[in-house]
Symmetry: C2
Subunit: 225 residues, 2 copies
């Protein structure tokens, strides 16, 4: 995750040099907005606040976005885009359903520690227009369907114990989504620590397994299961 | 859970009969308020709305509460009280740390399907006064500490695999807290189905274990682990 590198690079620097391209500047606007939305809430952030933090004038900001709501929607798009990207990669990979769920948890948890990911789950969807809300809900449904399909795949291939895939998907998504409520970028836990342990305990459980003692007792060879 | 029974009993009935005691009427106010806060949001619910749904006058409502914020705090108290009650019972029970975590998930998930529990996690704490917020945060910290202590107990007694109890507690609490975001009292999933599967998969994991085949292969008697 390039998170720490991103955090160390002040976004206003994108506007401090004439050589920077418009895409970099547009991204700097979005990153600054996401930061402010999480710090002060969406409602309390104005276009002026965003321009001020970027050290640019409001007309310069208008070159990229005309309305705060456009910026909000772009933040959602970026965040869900990060999740979708890794989902597509996982879906196309080899491995059991259980391995796909673990990979999903790992990369989704990482996304939940970066600002765009945190925006997706922490900001109030009620601030989106009806059309934008429909778009965001469609993304979220897609993510949920993918996760369910990995669980179903795991039940079929025998890597996951029979369960209700809907409830299982809700419990996994809930655990990961909740990260945005407690994760502190400056806190003692790293994204890597969180993502790894989430991937492990949400698939393997908290319970201690006894593979060694059982393996010692059991004869070698494939099990009957 | 007496949830369905509660839902079937209209709260205004508490005021329709002269024989009802003040405690029942006070509870009816709180239940109605919790319902409205979840339906319309706290900000959009007025004392008039609460009085109207209870079919009483505003002065009659004032007999129980003077400010909306008092009602909000009482809803939080009720919700966290439900969680604490079951936690105390679990803490005092026999069983391994893992069994206590499973019992915790089961009862906490049940609380998250009733309105007072949903209020605790879904309403915006920013609407509480500084003092009330401190009170609510103290409750939440207590719940978190209890869960962590069960996990630590499980690591010590060997029922839980070594892990970071803080991250594990966050993943479990997140999965359960998130219930308030998707659970629909009128939906197809019952509180019992949700609570049972959450308790199972959050402790045992999604992964299929192979106890039968291994048990058949392993000799009887305690394992070396």
């Amino acid at each position: 995750m390039p998170k720490s590198a991103l955090a160390q690079q002040p976004h206003w620097k994108a506007f401090a040099s004439r050589r920077r391209d418009p895409t970099t500047k547009r991204e700097a606007v979005l990153k600054t907005a996401a930061e402010l939305f999480l710090e002060k809430s969406y409602g309390r952030t104005s276009l002026d606040d965003i321009a001020e933090r970027l050290n640019i004038t409001k007309p310069a900001l208008y070159h990229y976005f005309h309305k705060k709501e456009e910026i909000l929607l772009e933040c959602y798009r970026w965040g869900t885009g990060l999740i979708e990207e890794s989902l597509t990669e996982i879906a196309g990979s080899a491995g059991t359903g259980l391995e796909k769920v673990a990979a999903f948890v790992y990369s989704y948890a990482n996304v939940m520690t970066v600002n765009f990911g945190r925006c997706v789950m922490r900001l109030d969807e009620g601030d989106l227009s009806t059309q934008a809300l429909e778009e965001v809900r469609t993304y979220k449904r897609k993510i949920d369907r993918r996760l369910r399909s990995f669980i179903q795949e795991g039940i079929r291939d025998g890597s996951i114990a029979p369960c209700d895939p809907k409830i299982a998907a809700f419990s996994i998504a809930g655990a990961v989504n909740w990260i945005c409520m407690w994760y502190e970028p400056a806190g003692p836990l790293t994204a890597e620590e969180i993502a790894s342990q989430f991937a492990r305990t949400l698939t393997q459980g908290l319970a201690r397994r006894k593979p060694d003692s059982l393996r010692r007792a059991a004869p070698a060879g494939p099990s009957a299961d």
